[in-house]
């Protein structure tokens, strides 16, 4: 069912000027009772300050949150109104589970490329500490019936349907609505299917912490992060972790499978609070304002897999999206200088890499002639990823785009050659979004 990709139509460029986020914090710590709107506004306000956008009417601000209260129907617009941007800056909410931030970036850069807007911010925010809690379906039905009832006796009758157990609040879960398996259980199944070892997962986790710690030490995040609520660094980062420490952790997912359980709190992302933003524009808009141009947001691709019917693992959609994206752009894995593969779990990275190296899988599932190829591990998540930084669902895309843009910019400056980064984000619902970021001539 694979079709020959259409050539990329020629449009103008969408460039990445920079990013700003607040430090990510483990759920229940620094950002307790801090709302999604508070966090996104803080990240946005930091971006405004960084690039002198006070009073500026931007083309658009797009973003979202995965765990979102119904009162936040205009979350991003409300954040804009609470920021120093001109109140005439339009905004809208996006939601694509963990791919929310990246999908928002795809949307606004497409508008820039088409000339519909000149500038935009994309991002996302999520809080587990301030997650919405809802009432049970039975209580909700009874309250709605009572609300719709016309007579007092009918209202009372409706309310009498309520049973004590209906009053228990319902917290959001990471369970898939169709399978009732948590994301961790789903990934444990994929991990077992690909035979990924505990050791390999712990190595990915260790590298993530070591790389992120080194990047913080080197000042890489100095112009990407604004302190918030007294936090200056991602507080999930464990610079002193080791394979020995990681090996001591008990598996938390996959206990009911025949295969040994390998996924622990160390090689799975923790629940995290945080927000991130990225500033995009046309080249002209950036140049007029003498703003730096880090990179181009070249192209993107989304994919989905049928995990409901056992055809594929829940988080494997990027494995399908990346070959399509690279083929359309005439690239192979060797052409990529930086692989930014979101670490939902260490094993998500490993099953994706394993899939691309598997000839049979690439032929039957991806419609390729043979194995897609091998990712050079020295180019993988070089400044750490979600295992170390944490993963506030909708904020992860913005974190990665800003990191990728800085990496390619620095690399191109250093070598005088164009540099490319590939971004890959898996998401609930069997979804995946991937994007290509490339250095610009200014940088090279």
């Amino acid at each position: 069912m694979s079709t020959t990709p259409s050539p990329v139509p020629s449009t103008r460029e969408a460039v990445i000027i920079g990013g700003n986020r607040i430090p990510f914090s483990r759920a229940g710590k620094k950002y307790v009772r801090t709302s999604n709107q508070d966090m996104f506004t803080a990240a946005l306000e930091g971006l405004v300050a960084r690039f002198g956008l006070q009073g500026e009417r931007l083309g658009e601000v797009a973003g979202g949150a995965v765990l979102k209260h119904s009162k936040n129907f205009n979350l991003i617009r409300e954040s804009v109104l609470g920021s120093s941007l001109a109140p005439t800056t339009p905004a809208y909410d996006v939601q694509q589970a963990c791919a929310t931030g990246l999908e928002a970036a795809i949307a606004v850069t497409n508008k820039i490329k088409l000339g519909q807007i000149e500038s935009a911010v994309a991002g996302g925010t999520d809080t587990v500490s301030d997650a919405p809690i809802v009432v049970s379906d039975r209580l909700r039905a009874a309250l709605l019936d009572a609300n719709h009832a016309k007579t007092t006796s009918a209202k009372i009758k409706a309310l009498l349907q309520i049973r004590p157990k209906d009053l228990a609040p319902v917290s959001p879960s990471t369970g898939e609505p169709r399978t009732h398996l948590s994301m961790g259980e789903h990934q444990a199944i994929t991990t077992a299917a690909w035979g990924i070892t505990r050791e390999a997962q712990d190595e990915i986790a260790l590298a993530s912490h070591q790389n992120l710690a080194r990047a913080w030490e080197a000042g890489f995040f100095d112009d990407l992060v604004t302190p918030f609520k007294g936090l200056t660094r991602d507080d999930n980062l464990r610079a002193d972790t080791s394979l020995e420490k990681l090996a001591k952790l008990r598996p938390v997912f996959g206990a009911s499978l025949d295969a040994p359980a390998t996924m622990t709190a160390g090689n799975s992302t923790p629940l995290t609070d945080g927000a991130s933003t990225v500033l995009f524009s046309s080249r002209e808009w950036a140049e007029e304002r003498e703003l730096p141009i880090l990179a181009k947001f070249v192209d993107a691709e989304t994919a989905a897999v049928d995990f409901v019917h056992g055809h594929e693992g829940l988080l494997m959609a990027p494995a399908a999206a990346v070959p399509r994206l690279l083929a359309r752009n005439g690239l192979t894995l060797e052409d990529i200088d930086f692989f930014e593969i979101h670490e939902a779990f260490a094993s998500t990275v490993l099953t994706t890499l394993a899939a691309w190296e598997d000839e049979e899988y690439c032929r039957t599932e991806l419609g390729l002639d043979g194995a897609f190829g091998k990712v050079d591990r020295s180019r993988l998540n070089v400044n750490g990823s979600s295992l170390a930084a944490g993963h506030p669902f909708a904020a992860t895309g913005g974190r990665i785009i800003a990191t990728a843009a800085k990496l390619v910019s620095a690399k191109a400056k250093e070598t005088g050659q164009p540099a490319r980064a590939l971004i890959s984000v898996c998401a609930a619902g069997g979804l995946g979004a991937v994007a290509l970021v490339e250095s610009t001539d200014n940088a090279a």
Binding site: R178, H309, G310
Partner: protein, 300 residues
Amino acid sequence: MVPASYGVTELDRLPRLGGLFAKGAAGSVTKRPKGAVRLPEVSYRVAGVDTSGEAAHLAAYQDLLGEPASDVLPAGFLHVLAFPLATAVMVRPDFPLPLLGMVHLRNVARVLRPVRLGEALEVRAWAQDVRGHRRGVQVDLVAEVLVGGELAYQGVSTYLAKGFTAPGAAAPGEPADDGTRPEWTAPLPTARWTLGGGTGRAYGAVSGDLNPIHTSALGAKAFGFPRAIAHGMYTAARALAEVGPALRGDRYEWTVEFFRPVLLPSTVDVAIRPAGDGLVYDGWRSGKGTRHLTGTVTPL
């Protein structure tokens, strides 16, 4: 099709299950093994079953089983619709097997054309093909639904009555009958069902099947189960819903074979996988090898 030798008994409307169960429970006491089993050669028929008033019932069914909201009646709903007529056959005094205590072994249903809410249906049911089983006899209860004289649905439910004797020798070559089954190892699951203690009552409410083994621990104990057990057809219908309309199409076959019953509450791991022209599903107790059911959904 109704066997040619069978007489047809016309009923005005579909009977109510509650009354049938009371009758069946009373009758079950007197239905004891004596000699070879002989089935009544009669088919029940109700013409002009009006489904226009079934919208709320259908919505409750769809909500419980996870079927998407649609005016097309899922095969599991047609089974529920026709079940009282099949039960009416089983509670006849001349039906030799006791309604209570019969074990549902397997079910094969075919949807040959979509049946829509509001269509007038003809429903038929009869019992046929009594044959041996290593623990007694098995019998097929057949239910058919016709729309405008055209066969739209056929369901064959095979039940076991323990301790009874079939006419002639046991049927050879039935894998469920010889006591040995091929070794089975659980595949990787694709879903997990957390079935609460009220699962039997919830499906009882939409199916009308309030057999006490499904609705209360006491009722289940009376039949030798430590706790209430889930309706087999609930688990099969849920698997059918999870395959979904897109993959099963308008015309499909839906089969299920039941193994150990699901004791409530329970966590059941489920695997739904492509196989041949359709999908195969398996359900087993999470973390254990206890196999509950397997079946297929195949577009026709």
